[in-house]
Symmetry: C2
Subunit: 464 residues, 2 copies
């Protein structure tokens, strides 16, 4: 292990002495306004892809390619000469969010400024900084050692902020050349207070629409009230039937496959500091509301939900209009956790909806969207290795996070490539990703590069 300790020391020294050059390069990357969602920035988004590909090529990665997708390209590169060592697929994205409202930016979004140990610019944290530190970690290894200790494939997307429209298709088309043992996604971050963290779980989704249809047209509520089923009342009856008053989901068998929270996992949740009152006050609600017997962060990351995302029917204007609406509608979605099946959950919710006794109207339920959850065990060796590296670089025992939302790529690596997914990212939750005045803490950026350098070695050292 002494050899390896020496190696890491040499890589750290390289990163130390190239810090200014790296920062300059990072600034240059951030100057490219690669707002992937806006077609007037298509040339900029393409330029950011080329910037990245040019660095990867120059620093010794192979098979570098700006791979067309029908939308913005995917930048692919690999280095596959670590025979017998594991192969990691690294994911990040070079497109950035739009910048409006521009007048809320204190500094121009594409003219990076460094203040208070942060670099301020759109994309600094989400996700150009994280993509860039990966490229530099590879450079450190290749320039100092002429090799990487493991095999790495880079897949950097340009449509993450616009729904990853072409990502799954590209993954499917290129599946034959994407074999790997693990996917590492660097598009997440640390826990509140800038504590290092590894995201081990993402929730899945099933999203559906309910359409309740009654009379041909809106009816006069005087003439018809008392003789027809009201689609809006029926819709409310249906929605109410799907949840119990304690917030649990009332759909039969909904929880059947939900993976229990083990004492070990519960202990990790208990480590996470959270002030419930502050948590609630931050969004302006008088109190949290959720399943009894679970911590708020367990309810966010390790328990499924059923929420109305929208509902409408009849008269929505000022004042009063006395109608019985001809139809009423709701969008309803469930967040899913291991080991739920999105399709099966949809069927169960649909069946529960159709079982509600609302004679006199037609009820239709159709799926709008499905997404798979992702969960890697806290005890997985690749997670343990990441934890060791974060501890070494940041001097703190990392937290393990279960995120409540989804990252499309996270589910895709699991469902399309069958890979376990570890989300190792370095942003601070106060970085204002997606908002004006986005920034990245430079210590996180630099520590991120050093963590990745170590992580590749740690994965190489895992017993096989």
């Amino acid at each position: 292990m002494t050899d390896q300790t020496d190696t890491i020391a040499r890589l750290d020294a390289f990163l130390d002495r190239t810090a200014d050059e790296r920062l300059g390069d990072y600034v240059e990357f951030l100057r490219i306004p690669s707002i992937g969602t806006l077609s007037e920035h298509d040339a900029d988004t393409e330029a950011a892809a080329r910037f990245l590909a040019e660095r990867l090529e120059r620093w010794g990665l192979e098979h570098v390619e700006v791979s067309p997708t029908g939308g913005h390209p995917i930048v692919y590169a690999d280095w596959l000469h670590a025979e017998g060592a594991p192969t990691v697929l690294v994911y990040g994205h070079y497109d950035v969010q739009p910048v409006d409202p521009l007048d809320l930016w204190v500094r121009p979004p594409f003219d990076p400024r460094i203040e208070d140990g942060r670099i301020f610019a759109r994309g600094a944290a989400d996700d150009k900084g994280q993509v860039h530190l990966h490229a530099w970690a590879a450079r450190a290894w290749l320039e100092m050692e002429g090799r990487l200790p493991i095999n790495v494939r880079y897949v950097f997307e340009g449509e993450e902020e616009s729904g990853s429209t072409h990502f799954d298709g590209w993954l499917r088309d290129n599946r034959h050349r994407l074999s790997a043992d693990l996917a590492v996604i660097s598009d997440t971050g640390f826990f509140e207070g800038n504590h290092p963290a590894i995201t081990v779980g993402l929730r899945g989704l099933t999203y559906l629409q309910v359409d309740v249809t009654g009379p041909d047209v809106d009816l006069h509520s005087g003439t018809w009230g008392g003789n027809v089923q009201n689609p809006a009342n029926a819709l409310a009856r249906i929605i109410a039937a799907l949840r119990n008053d304690d917030g649990t989901v009332a759909v039969p068998s909904f929880y059947d496959e939900v993976r229990p929270i083990t004492p070990e996992v519960h202990a990790q949740f208990q480590r996470l500091p959270l002030d419930e009152a502050e948590f609630a006050a931050g969004i302006g609600v008088p109190e949290l509301f959720g399943e009894a017997g679970f911590l708020p962060l367990e309810r966010r990351g390790a328990r499924p939900t059923l929420d109305v995302n929208g509902l409408w029917g009849g008269f929505q204007g000022e004042g009063s209009k006395t109608i019985i609406p001809a139809h009423a509608h709701a969008k309803i979605s469930c967040r899913l956790v291991a080991d739920m099946d999105p399709e099966r959950t949809f069927e169960r919710v649909r069946d529960a909806i159709l079982a509600v006794p609302v004679p006199g109207v037609r009820v239709d339920v159709r799926p709008l969207n499905h997404g798979m959850w992702s969960l890697v065990d806290i005890g997985h060796p690749a997670v343990a290795a990441a934890a060791t590296c974060l501890r070494e670089v940041f001097g703190e025992e990392p937290y393990y996070l279960y995120e409540g939302g989804s990252i499309p790529a996270g589910a895709s690596f699991g469902t399309i490539l069958g890979l376990p997914v570890a989300l190792v990212g370095f942003t601070n939750p106060d970085d204002q990703a997606h908002a004006p005045n986005e920034s990245m803490v430079l210590a996180n950026y630099e520590g991120g590069a050093r963590t990745v350098v170590r992580y590749w070695q740690a994965l190489a050292d895992l017993p096989r």
Copy 2:
């Protein structure tokens, strides 16, 4: 009684020989496009008022006045020389509905055409025809007999189609000069199949809005799902709590003051022919839905309801947006029957809403609109007298109708002037009031004039 029979015969003969002149006058009245809701027709609406006032004045009515209201004027006239006889207040309106969609009219809406025993024009039935036949009934009496057998006050409104905005204020301001024994409203019609009918009941209304407020802004349903009460789910829970699955209202004490349907009233409802399947098919619903144990027309006219008129919250667009809405809203109204109190009903519904256990959100309930029901006993002498006249003219035993909706004026005569209200109108339900190709059956119009001529005499003959 022979004198009176002679009198009626003379009046009938007058109406017979003036039929052409009357029809010409009616056509002239219908040519005035008095669309009260459209300001570009303000001069026309005023012209219709003046047309009417000019006739009333010319034919011998007194105190004729085009009385300003702040909106369209009220045409007032009276004849009060029948000492010791009852005083009747006659209500109708000279404004008409808009005509769009114009392309669905087979004939121009303000160029009346006579075909198949009907006169086609906007306002022919609703309500110019009925106002006009009242004026001609008065003319017949005054021209042939030099008197009316009772005292009559005419109150013809110009804002009925735009919500009777200034009507209650005018009634209150003029209460001192509107003393009467009975209000007769001629703005309704016959039963399906053109069977003569008297409307004895109108339902009242209490209309409210529920606002459910949760977080400050729409939340990401992944990040927050499981920890906050969802305002849209909470709203559905509230609405569902207000009704039972059998369609009855679940609000405590809601039915406490509802006047039972007596065997006599029930017998009148049973007389009314109704094909339930046809009734349902007419509005495109698979089946009727309502309180068990009541006839459909009892549920329409003699039982209260609770209906959602509109609801909304969160995302209503195409596809899926994963939010927990910051707020959700519903408009809810109850149709009320004798002897319910609109204010008290509002309070009971509000209390039931606020009693639903939905922690974590704020629930506000506010009243939007109240309206009193109106009900005159089927056995009331003024109703019996009207029935006799209808039977005599149309050769059929009339039906007694309980309407499901409200006529603002109907409630106002009860609540402001304290008068019993009989709704004696002559339109056929297939007249297409409010729709393209409105018409009036000429036999109904002519029979209406003859019925009114008789009705004034019948009221004069009532024992006091």
